[in-house]
Subunit: 334 residues, 4 copies
């Protein structure tokens, strides 16, 4: 951490600051110049609150060098984390496609889709029971009934299931769910993250629409600091000025995250683009960029889906995407 | 609502669609052309889910004309809403400054600040007990103790208090709080919004960093559709590429909101800019643009605040800002 | 084009408007409802200025349905355009890598790099002679001497060359250049675009940092409407709030552009990310998403490059990227 | 400037780097720690290219402390610059409103508007002769004829005139123009900026839609480093995800710019919002935030303006805005 002091800070104030930082277990190296005096703080600064230091009377500015996250940081955990999703490994070379409908609608629907995506090579089944919707008047999901149907599809196919939680008070309903998803709008719902840190289930954490990669890692750190280190990160598009796609899929986040963290990274091209015919090229691109997995919406009848139909693939379209992704990965790993 | 059909849609499909829309209580007017056939849906479309229509087999695109919110819509409630905050009116010409520290730290601190801001003309006291922080390692607020101290400051000064809720499970602690704040990161925590719709307290709803003005109104609609129509909207900066200020304060949101909704609009220049010396010019600007109120951070000792010190004013600085704002409003209303 | 009239527009005003649109060669279909009266304008509206219509006294809003570009529009030119770059075809299944240093520095440097990238499979050589730099104090390129050296490297290798123009007054210097590049900062330098519309050279048009896909196509239309239809589009990252990469590479632009236009699309992962070790994954991703080509910075000695060294690959690194890209394309085309 | 070295950099490499920086006239102070070695470079680094340093073999990262602009920097020129616009002073307490139509259309139009805005208190007349338009099919301005008519309006009223240049080849036509405007799309047309640095006319430089405040200052530096120090900066909205207004007016830029530079800052609420009825509140806000001037579109007949009618005020509306702005400034200066 670099602390830049105000011009005119006098020697005994500098000494007092040095003592203060020393008392935090940090070594201090001083650079004095005409236009600025600079203190380099050396040691473990990941637990230091830069706001607090910026408030000190003589401080003009603070710049972090070390990252503010520790458990998610690849520097301290160099090996890729492999998250065990009820027997299906994800990360560290274990690539998985998570597929299924935006919303669970009926037992027939979810079981049929589950069978189809399994045949095509999906490793996990997704399906929404609690749906965050911008409008209070839009379909909000089947709730506990949705989870019940999802678990029936799991029983029928053996696929572990991923579904979204919107409030910790529903946690009991997730007892047999394999992976709990935190949606983009809740990425900084810190109370929810803290509680999920006390569970023993893998958490699929989606990046918020306006959140930086570093903030995504800080939210993972919230979960991990509670004791649950099984976090899967998910890039699903950020909000920019471009309106041709629903959001802008930030695929550079894949190599950036692989550098900064040991956690697995999956990509959701369905929500990012909002357009079914963009899913195939963006799924290929995500796999080519090194994603550890994909999350893809598949619906038996996209035209009549209760939500997000325009971005859902049919089972046949999904099978074609999966085939291409597997072939592409084989080439890249050859 | 305008529905654009695909090229090549045949007559009996058009007839079936017309019947379908008719069954929803909508009148249909048809425009057929060489490159596109267009259906204008006339009637109350605020409850129609455009996603559902976009999914219909013959539909190429859907464009809303009517806004998707109803209770928050000025078209249906032309008069300004005045929110009664335990006797202090806000909105419809009643301008209020909400002032106080980012975090409640001690009884002396919050009571002292409350007395000072009251003297300077503030109508409500703010103070954080539950603090959303990006890092799990940063100070998270005094929680129930914070609310207890805030209520002591209320007792000492008579100022109604505003404080943030982060999880509905804490609602009981807010029994004597006058206005409940929903922070920017929870603007689309729909489960929280729904529950607050069943309370009888004014809700101060902050705009999310990446949320459009329309999404802010949809979140207000979530609260209002539950029965609680006492919503105060708050612009506090949006996330853009500019890094000179923490966020970009979108003051155009004030006149836009005044057109679209009858709800009061307050502005928080402290969080938007993150820089104490920018608060005065931006507070003046917000008042000049027609805000119904301001929310300003004031701390007895900003250099040693436990959070957000760099953006807090001293009581003296606040008094100067308040004087200027009141003078400016008097001129504009003359 | 859809024209929404103000509430209360009376019949003889509607008639006058209908006549006015009729006089522009457009058919008008009318939908009258309680909350809005809507006119659908049918016919060729690509030359109609929506601003002008929005100004008409009775008009509340105008929504385009047809795109405002014609020559760049795939609807009117369904077949992919193949741009002939002095014998090297680009587009319509002809994939090309354009490689070379950010700046031409010396004859040895540019010739050496040209030979290396040719060996690795590059089809065109890039090298900057005129360099747009944010600071007036930064290296601005070798200008005419840079172009002279670039042409020497062309003579030595047979690779056609691509280099950027910053002002039309330099056009004479580009007489033997094969492809003229318009940089991101000049994407809406309309005077430059108009002049390039009168040349007979292929133009590589880079998307501006804050420009939508539609604006990119409108800038292509500027060139094409002048008579020069050999335009190559280039996605090179847009400006967002994320700072982990220099810009955010918008790979969804590839499938979107392929739908909207017949012009070829290349991607520049070097400038987009600004980080050499991100070039490989993003080059793979761009190829997988269906790009018609790549533009990659290669430098003999990136550590001592006079500009943009941190994002340049060594010839060896480039050869590895090229091998992977070719293998991946073979798999996808199988 | 702070230079962070890679872990494992050995002593004699550190010594060589120190010598290298010493040869650039900089003093070096070293901080060595377990996780990082840091060099503080002290002295005048405004002419040092951080890219070049980042390229050095042992360097991990470079952080600027000093700003990269010198002539525009308030640190070196503490007093406000007052730009003399043919006798009308702007800046340093001299507030001016620049008003007039988007496009010059006819002698009657421009002279009438000039007389009206002068009566209402405008100090300068604006009017476009060269118009940058997204579409090649939209009205592009009257060019030399437009400038001729503008000068007639100047002769009739005595108001100095401001008009936009789009290509330096037109410079001769601007011989009698008082202030030359550089539009947002040309803010980084560096060749144009360099040439304007050799003229002796005030330059009104508009901020680009995706440009940071620092980039705006760097573009001013381009002009100033050529010898022309009479630069007026103009905030006119930046591009964000919000679509309720055409752009997002960044009023925080006013106090930020006043801190960083001595150059005057004007605000254009007409282009920023694109909506006439937003001009008044945003003009008030800009004045309240400390702008040195405003730039406002006024048209005799906005409904039939050839461009940007929806954002133009009538002369009566403008007079009301001007009265309010002057009253508000009087209050703030009292």
């Amino acid at each position: 951490m670099i602390v830049i002091l105000k011009q005119g800070t006098v020697q005994n104030e500098i000494d007092r600051l040095s003592d203060f930082f020393g008392s935090m277990g940090l070594k201090v190296h001083l650079s004095e110049g005409e236009h600025a005096t600079i203190m380099g703080l050396i040691g473990d600064t990941s637990l230091v609150d830069p706001d607090m230091i910026a408030n000190l009377e003589q401080v003009e500015a603070v710049r972090r060098i070390q990252e503010p996250y520790k458990k998610a940081n690849r520097k301290f955990t160099p090996e890729d984390t492999v998250v065990d999703c009820s027997g299906v490994p994800l990360g560290g070379g274990n690539f998985q496609i998570i597929a299924g409908p935006c919303s669970v609608e009926s037992e027939e629907q979810i079981t049929f889709v589950a069978q189809e995506v399994k045949k095509a090579g999906a490793g996990l089944l997704r399906g929404g029971a609690f749906k965050p919707r911008t409008s209070p008047y839009a379909f909000q999901g089947l709730h506990d009934e949705g989870i019940r149907l999802l678990l029936k599809a799991k029983a029928a196919t053996g696929l572990p299931v991923v579904t979204e939680i919107m409030d910790i008070k529903h946690l009991d309903l997730f007892a047999d769910v394999d992976v709990i998803q935190v949606g983009a709008r809740n990425m900084q719902n810190f109370e929810l993250l803290k509680e999920l840190g006390h569970t023993d289930k893998p958490i699929l954490l989606k990046r918020g629409l306006a959140n930086t990669i570093q903030e995504l890692l800080m939210s993972a750190e919230y979960i991990m600091s509670g004791g649950n280190e099984r976090v899967i990160l998910c890039e699903r598009g950020i909000r920019t000025f471009e309106t041709a796609t629903r959001n802008t899929l930030d695929l550079s986040a894949i190599p950036v995250l692989h550098e900064k963290t040991h956690l697995p990274v999956v990509v959701d091209p369905s929500h990012a683009t909002g357009i079914a015919r963009m899913v195939k090229p963006m799924a290929f691109a995500a796999a080519a960029a090194g994603a550890d997995g994909l999350m893809i919406e598949v619906h038996n009848d996209p035209r009549h889906a209760l939500c997000d139909g325009p971005q859902s693939l049919t089972p046949e379209e999904f099978a074609e995407v999966a085939r291409g992704v597997f072939a592409l990965r084989e080439t890249l790993n050859a």
